[in-house]
């Protein structure tokens, strides 16, 4: 499924504080560069040096970095781009400045969209994004979104707009590693297709040193048995604890087991019932049966 994300028009990578998505973002950027596309990166969170570190040198000339990190709010009057300038006209003007081919092959990478959402009204951001990826110049928009920083509705609204959403989460630790590379993260990919079907897939992946993406299979294959074992041990643990507890012994003895119940009850239940009800009555101390009273003789 990772290969299908290449054809996405608006791809949103959402991450949390537990597991960052920037490595995945860089890996996607590198893949775009290798495909000979022009990539415009709008960086709000990391500097140009940090973002481009590790990417292959021969492709770097195709990457244009718009620096909004050094002076995001224009305090020094020296910034080249601020979050408030994220409007369709400004973005398109900036893309038009750098030399590019006429064909529609610009990939826009936003690192991160959270900065833009925190400084602009959500409706404006959504409209801008929609105009960008349905316009003529931009082929694809890849945005990083930190779900911790926004309300659920905001994340939902942006992902509603996206054709593909990749949710990055930390992978649960496995007791035995079959491969030598431990899985870095779990990606849940949701992709909306033309025919209307929505596909959801979960995969483990790692981003290697040279920012290539390695897909490591699906969760269902890897860990099923450990979970079952854990459940059993929990139940067994409770029973063991109950047995060891003195009061527990008394409580369990209070419940009369079926095979220890008095014989008439048991035998009556074992006989085939023929639409009759048997009433077993054992007279207790409060009943006094008077042999001379004619009413007590009634045999009903």
């Amino acid at each position: 499924a990772m290969f299908q994300v290449r054809s996405a028009v608006f791809l949103s990578v959402t991450d949390t504080a537990d597991c960052g998505g920037r490595n995945l973002l860089k890996s996607l950027t590198q893949a775009a560069l290798q495909r000979e596309e022009l990539v415009h990166v709008f960086g709000f969170e990391v500097s140009e040096f940090e973002f481009t570190a590790g990417l292959k040198n021969e492709d770097k000339w195709r990457l244009v970095f718009h620096d909004a990190y050094s002076d995001p709010l224009n305090w020094d009057e020296s910034s080249s781009f601020t979050p408030l300038q994220f409007t369709t006209q400004d973005v398109l003007a900036r893309i038009g400045q750098a030399p590019n081919e006429d064909s529609k092959s610009v990939t826009l990478v936003l690192d991160s969209l959270s900065w833009v959402l925190l400084h602009n009204p959500v409706t404006l951001v959504c409209q801008t994004l929609q105009q960008l990826f349905s316009g003529l110049k931009v082929k694809r928009v890849v945005a990083l979104l930190h779900t911790d920083l926004h309300e659920q509705g905001v994340v939902g609204s942006v992902c509603h707009l996206a054709g593909t959403v990749v949710m990055v989460a930390p992978a649960p630790k496995r007791p035995s590693a079959e491969t030598d590379v431990e899985p870095l993260a779990l990606a849940t990919i949701v992709q909306r297709k033309e025919s209307g079907k929505v596909i959801k897939k979960e995969e483990y992946f790692t981003v290697l040193e040279d920012f290539n993406l390695k897909v490591l299979g699906e969760p269902a294959q890897l860990s099923r048995r450990p979970e079952g074992k854990e459940e059993e041990t929990a139940q067994v643990g409770i029973l063991r604890a109950l047995r060891g507890w003195p009061q527990g012994q008394r409580l369990t003895n209070m419940f009369l087991l079926f095979f220890l119940s008095p014989p008439p009850r048991k035998s009556s239940l074992l006989q085939p019932q023929a639409n009759q009800g048997h009433i077993f009555y054992e007279p207790d101390a409060a009943d006094d049966v008077d042999d001379e009273d004619p009413d007590d003789d009634l045999d009903i």
Binding site: S134, G153, H160, G196, V198
Partner: protein, 375 residues
């Protein structure tokens, strides 16, 4: 007298009717409205109905969608299947020759109109869907014939899982092929795309009213008045029906903030729009379908107000994206659940509610079926 009745009846049947078992017995209808192609009077209360494009959905909502009412679809999580239903509705309108009005904020309406599913028509009757329906009928008949001992139960109908109305009032579409442009030439289409109408720099809200919604209402009103759907200027040609489709209403692209804020500033803009829209619908020959991303609307009170202001409300929930049900047993046969939240009571005291409450839907290439979910 008899001759005029016959010609009237031939106009009643919608074009493109594929009859497996066409009888010569037709209901005599003397009302003038029934002569609009693609419509039929309801058997329950005589209301004029149009098809939603999906015959099993027609059955679930009581035979079809009444003219002058609003169908609200609560979208599934990523607007996959609800968009399919939206396209079916528009495609049905194109096949029947109705006028179409499409309003969409995300995709340009022109793109939506180019990607409508192609209908399966008479002359190119496709064997597969025909076979499916015939197989269901045949299996029913076979079971009936084979009862020798329990012959008294022979005439009881076998449980039908697929719901379909008996007469071919709706059409079947092939989602993988798109409708040929020639079919759309004769149909008058109107578009509304917020990006064209409202400039980006202007504030979406003026005072209490959402300008995008206001412009949409004005545009709809203009179309209704100019084309004579409300009887203002008497139409010289035959009366026709306007089908309005509005996609993802209430999302952030329409300038509305109910989808991303718990306490939105402009709570009533969408409800005011719906109220005005329903007034327009009731006084004209129009049918409207609206899809709303209900899962994004944080405030439940708003959603319940929206439901009350609509007539028929249907919700889709796909198994793929729902966190609640991940039982693999569900996924084998069906792709999601269909919830019917509200059915209107039009000119009657009670509405026709089907007994089956658990409905599931399945989208195949040529068929969108809604079935009872049996576990």
């Amino acid at each position: 007298m008899a001759a005029s009745c016959c010609t009237n009846m031939s106009a009643v049947l919608p074009s493109g009717n594929v009859g497996i078992s066409s009888t010569s017995f037709h209901k005599k209808s003397r009302s003038k409205l029934a002569s609009i192609p693609g419509t039929r009077p309801s058997v329950q209360n005589g209301q004029l109905l149009v098809s939603t494009g999906v015959p099993s959905l027609d059955y679930v909502i009581g035979g079809g969608l009444a003219v002058g009412t609003l169908l609200l679809i609560e979208e599934d999580q990523y607007d996959g299947y609800s968009h399919v239903l939206f396209k079916y509705f528009l495609a049905e309108g194109a096949v029947c020759g109705h006028s179409i009005f499409v309003a969409s904020a995300r995709e340009h309406p022109g793109d939506i109109l180019q990607n409508l599913p192609a209908p399966l028509l008479d002359d190119v009757v496709n064997a597969e869907t025909e076979e499916e329906i015939v197989n269901i009928n045949q299996s029913v008949r076979e079971h009936q014939d084979s009862m020798k001992i329990a012959w008294r139960y022979q005439n009881l109908p076998k449980m039908q899982t697929s719901l379909a109305s008996s007469s071919r009032f709706g059409h079947y579409f092939d989602v993988s092929k798109s409708m040929s442009p020639e079919m759309l030439y004769s149909v008058s289409c109107h578009n509304f795309y917020p990006g064209n109408e409202v400039s980006l720099d202007s504030v979406p809200m003026i005072g209490n009213k959402n300008t995008v919604y206001m412009k949409l209402l004005q545009s709809i009103q203009r179309v209704i008045r100019n084309e004579g759907f409300d009887g203002a200027c008497p139409q010289k040609k035959q009366k026709n029906i306007l089908r309005i489709g509005i996609r993802s209403l209430g999302s952030a692209l329409w300038g509305d903030d109910i989808c991303y804020q718990d306490n939105p500033e402009h709570v009533h803009s969408l409800t005011m729009f719906l109220y005005a829209l329903r007034g327009l619908l009731r006084t004209s020959l129009t049918v409207c379908i609206i899809t709303v991303p209900a899962h994004l609307i944080q405030n439940k009170a708003i959603m319940s107000r929206i439901v009350k202001l609509s007539d028929t409300v249907v919700g889709l929930e796909s198994f793929n994206c729902s966190e609640k049900r991940t039982n693999p047993l569900y996924k084998d046969y069906h792709e999601g659940l269909l919830h019917v939240y509200q059915i209107p009571r039009l000119n009657s005291l009670m509405c026709d509610v089907s007994e089956a409450k658990d409905l599931a839907f399945k989208l195949k290439r040529k068929l969108f079926t809604i079935e009872n979910l049996y576990l």
